[in-house]
Structures are given as structure tokens and as C-alpha cells.
């Protein structure tokens, strides 16, 4: 009987912990969002965050997108050639890249690179009292540290995804024309015929949401970090893992919502 009660207590504690965590995260996100729109503004910090999250993620996002497009063309050819449907490769590449692979892979890459960096930086600031020091110097830490990163990531991700879309399609084009023997003109015609504005836009909307989530999880975990170097390490891991899972989960939800809209 006691064991049963212990189990119930454990489940209850887990449920309460989860609700508390979601509540804290929600309040943190709302506070960060509200500080984006309220003065004072820190354009220099927004610019710096934009460079760190967007510009310095360019190489990794570009390479990921290029190789993904190339692999996609190869794999599609292998599968479609069995049914004599090779001509659908251009359509598959452009749809997959713009709707799914561009935003999701760019999000995961930026989460691993920039999300981890945000959590590590804010975590270090927390455990070395730098965040407390900000408060004592008439500066609201949420406004100074969190809001610029949320805004920068929400703007940077769609731009990165736009580049990823172009490079992903280019990767597919290179493999199709250089290795699989497709005619360049025919492949490009098929690509542009299947390239829909709605697909690109839905991908960019996803990217904006993913950018916000990456910065949010990096800031949230770093901001609450405690316990020295180990705490910062834990916060960094939690930031990347939680952002990655949220990206995949939100991708499904957004696909459901956006696909119905753009059908």
C-alpha cells in the first residue's frame, strides 16, 4: 500500500514539476517578448546577436542544405527509377527543401551552434554574478540579455532558411544534371514549375518560430543556471536538447496548420 502511495506521490510530483516548468517558461517567454517592444532599445546588442546567431551560422547551414539537396536527389532517383518516375525528382527536391528540410535542418544546426552558445554565455553570467550586477546598474537583464537575442534569432532564422532553400535546390540540381544525366533546362523548368510561393513562405514562418524557440530555450536555461561550471554545462545541454525536440514537435504542428491553409 505504501509503495502504491509512493508511486502516486511520485507521479503527482512529476506532474506538478512539469506544470511549474511550463508556467515558468511561459512567463519567461512573455516577459522577453514584452521587453522587445518596450524602450529602452539596444540596437547594438540586437546587431551583435544577429551576427552571432545568423551570420556566423551561415557556413554550417549552407553546407548542411547543399549536401541534403544532393543526397535527396540521389535517393529520390534510386527510388523513383524503379517506377519510371525520375522526372519527379525536381519536384520532390524543391518541395522537401522549402517545406521541411530547409527550416528543420537549419533550426537544428543553429540550435546546436547558437542555442548552445547563448545558454553557455548567460549561464556563465549567472554563476559569476554578472546578471545580478546588471540589475544593480539600473539595467533590466531580461531587456538587455534576452530580448535582443529573441528578436535577432526570430529575424535571422528565416534569412538563413532562405539561403538553405536556394542551396538545397542547387545541390539537387548539381547531382541531377552532373551525375544523373538530367538536362539542365528541363530540370530547372520542373523546379520552377513546382516552386510555390506558399511553400517558401510556410517554410519561412516555421523558421521564424524555430528561431524564437532556439533563443528562448538558450536564454531560459542559461538564465536559470546554477552551481558553477557543471551547472552551465547542464544548462547548455538542456538548451540544445529542448530546442531540438521543440523544433521537431512544432514542425509537425505548424505543418498541420500551414498545410491546411496553403492547400
Amino acid at each position: 500500500m505504501n509503495k502504491l502511495l509512493d508511486l502516486v506521490a511520485l507521479i503527482g510530483a512529476l506532474a506538478l514539476g512539469t506544470v511549474e516548468f511550463i508556467g515558468e517558461l511561459g512567463l519567461f517567454a512573455l516577459s522577453g517578448l514584452s521587453h522587445i517592444f518596450r524602450p529602452p532599445y539596444y540596437p547594438r546588442l540586437i546587431g551583435k546577436a544577429f551576427m552571432e546567431i545568423g551570420y556566423f551560422s551561415l557556413p554550417v547551414v549552407a553546407l548542411t542544405a547543399l549536401f541534403t539537396g544532393m543526397v535527396l536527389a540521389l535517393q529520390s532517383y534510386t527510388g523513383f527509377s524503379r517506377f519510371g518516375a525520375e522526372s519527379a525528382i525536381a519536384s520532390v527536391v524543391v518541395l522537401s527543401v522549402t517545406r521541411e528540410l530547409g527550416p528543420v535542418l537549419a533550426g537544428l544546426m543553429v540550435s546546436g551552434r547558437a542555442g548552445a552558445a547563448i545558454a553557455a554565455e548567460l549561464g556563465t553570467m549567472r554563476v559569476t554574478d554578472q546578471i545580478d550586477a546588471l540589475s544593480t546598474l539600473s539595467t533590466e537583464p531580461m531587456k538587455y540579455l534576452v530580448a535582443p537575442r529573441l528578436l535577432a534569432a526570430t529575424i535571422a532564422l528565416p534569412l538563413l532558411v532562405l539561403l538553405a532553400d536556394i542551396l538545397g535546390v542547387l545541390g539537387g540540381y548539381l547531382v541531377a544534371t552532373q551525375k544523373l544525366g538530367f538536362a539542365s533546362g528541363a530540370y530547372l523548368l520542373a523546379t520552377f514549375t513546382n516552386l510555390k510561393t506558399e511553400d517558401v513562405v510556410s517554410g519561412l514562418i516555421k523558421a521564424g518560430v524555430f528561431g524564437f524557440v532556439i533563443a528562448l530555450m538558450g536564454c531560459f536555461n542559461g538564465y536559470r543556471s546554477k552551481g558553477g561550471a557543471q551547472g552551465v554545462g547542464t544548462a547548455t545541454t538542456a538548451a540544445v536538447v529542448s530546442a531540438s525536440i521543440l523544433i521537431l514537435a512544432l514542425d509537425y504542428i505548424l505543418t498541420q496548420v500551414l498545410f491546411v491553409k496553403v492547400k
Binding site: M125, T128, L137, S138
Partner: protein, 256 residues
């Protein structure tokens, strides 16, 4: 009797089951330097963090110039706390900013100085803590521990605050550098006419920088008196602590 600059009454704070502050009463008179001593984990840092608004107390009153900051509207509480400068234990300098920007950060945040004039102002304040202009453009990580403390002190005094807090100002420094920092603290506080609270374990430092002292024990102020009487105080708790005796009323849980 004049109104104290800082008046604390019945301050309580617990973290889960652990009661850290259990009804702290403390008065700090205008223009005086109070030193708070006490063992590790007795709540000295929590006490000043409560005044700064970095920790929310469970109960009690914290008055600055007779106004309760805990009951004041948020904007007014911020105004009251804006007159406090703080030197953190490890300096807490911003890694991402050069020394001059660290020093003038508060002034820039309060828009009391233009960015173009900030570097010059920083050099002026750095000179007051014995640092020359060459350090202004360095990163905090390029400085020694003693220099970081001086930059932290420069940042704390740059806005000429009416109240200054010092959290373990000599921790991690050699005795000579500790004495130098103490001297700078005394000079700065006297020159600005500020009211100060310092928390420390260092008895030599406590006597150098304090006019008065308070001993925190079991979540309460167990003794207050002139800082120069710390070493001769008959209170058994103070006597054991200041002389570092293992035997006495203060018991420490030792890990085996």
C-alpha cells in the same frame, strides 16, 4: 535621533526548509560604514541581496531614507535602489565589454553621460582606484585578481552612489593587495560621503573599513558595536569567530 540611512526590521528569508534570515534587525546611520561578519552560510550575502532587490524576503521591512522598498511601487523601489553601488565578491565584471565600458555601464544605462564621453570618464574614475589609462581598453580577463577588484570598485563608485555595498572585498587577494583595496574603499567612501555595508570574514579588513560592526549568527544579528572593539568583544559568539577558535558556541557540521 536622526533617521538611519538604512533600517532593516524583522527580515526573514528561507530557501525551502533552510531558514537563512530569521528576523534580522539592523540600522546603518547616514555616512557610516557598517561591517557585517558571520560564518559561511549565515545569510550575509542574502541580507545585502535583499536590500538590492536580487532576493525577495519572506517578511520584514527594509527602509532606505525612511521608505520601505519592499512596499514601494516598483518604479519607486527602483529609484531608491538606484542609489546603491555594489562591489561583488568576484568582481562580476562583464566579460564581453572592455574595462572602460564596465566602469561607466551604470552611467550609460541611466543616461547620465554620453557614450562619446564615457571613456574619458572611465579613465578619470580608474585613476581614483589607482589604475592608469592603459587598462581602459583591456578585457576584464586580461587583468589580475587585484586589478579586477579595483575595476569592480571603480564601477561601484562611478555613479557616486549614496550607498555602497562590498561583498567580501578582500577575498582571494594577498594581504598586501587586501590592505590596498581596503584603503581605496575607505578613501572612496569618505570622499563620496556614502553610507556603506561590507560583508567580510577578514577581521583585519573589517576593522580597517568599518565604523561599526554587526555579527550575524543563526539568522539574526547577535551583536552590534564599534568595529574597533571586534577583537576585544566579550560576546562569546563574536569572540570565538573573531579569534577563529574551534571551541565555543558556534558549531560547524563537519563532513566525514
Amino acid at each position: 535621533m536622526s533617521q538611519p540611512k538604512i533600517r532593516i526590521r524583522g527580515l526573514k528569508k528561507a530557501f525551502g526548509p533552510k531558514v537563512v534570515l530569521d528576523g534580522v534587525d539592523l540600522d546603518v546611520e547616514q555616512g557610516t560604514a557598517m561591517v557585517v561578519i558571520g560564518g559561511s552560510g549565515t545569510g550575509k550575502s542574502v541580507l545585502i541581496k535583499s536590500v538590492l532587490g536580487l532576493v525577495t524576503p519572506d517578511a520584514g521591512v527594509i527602509e532606505i531614507d525612511g521608505e520601505d522598498v519592499l512596499k514601494a511601487p516598483r518604479a519607486r523601489a527602483r529609484e531608491l535602489r538606484a542609489q546603491i553601488g555594489m562591489l561583488f565578491q568576484n568582481g562580476a565584471l562583464f566579460d564581453s565589454l572592455p574595462v572602460w565600458e564596465n566602469v561607466t555601464f551604470g552611467l550609460l544605462a541611466q543616461r547620465r553621460i554620453r557614450r562619446s564621453a564615457a571613456r574619458g570618464k572611465a579613465i578619470e574614475v580608474l585613476a581614483q582606484v589607482g589604475l592608469d589609462a592603459t587598462v581602459a581598453d583591456l578585457s576584464p580577463s586580461e587583468l589580475s585578481g587585484g586589478m579586477q577588484k579595483r575595476v569592480g570598485l571603480a564601477r561601484a563608485i562611478a555613479s557616486e552612489p549614496a550607498i555602497i555595498f562590498f561583498d567580501e572585498p578582500t577575498t582571494g587577494l594577498d594581504p598586501i593587495m587586501g590592505a590596498v583595496i581596503d584603503g581605496l574603499i575607505v578613501d572612496c567612501v569618505k570622499r563620496l560621503g556614502s553610507t556603506s555595508i561590507a560583508i567580510t570574514h577578514d577581521m583585519a579588513s573589517a576593522q580597517r573599513i568599518g565604523d561599526n560592526a554587526a555579527m550575524l549568527y543563526q539568522g539574526q544579528v547577535t551583536w552590534t558595536g564599534p568595529a574597533n572593539e571586534l577583537m576585544t568583544c566579550p560576546n562569546p559568539v563574536v569572540d570565538q569567530f573573531t579569534h577563529g577558535r574551534a571551541q565555543g558556541p558556534i558549531t560547524m557540521a563537519l563532513r566525514k
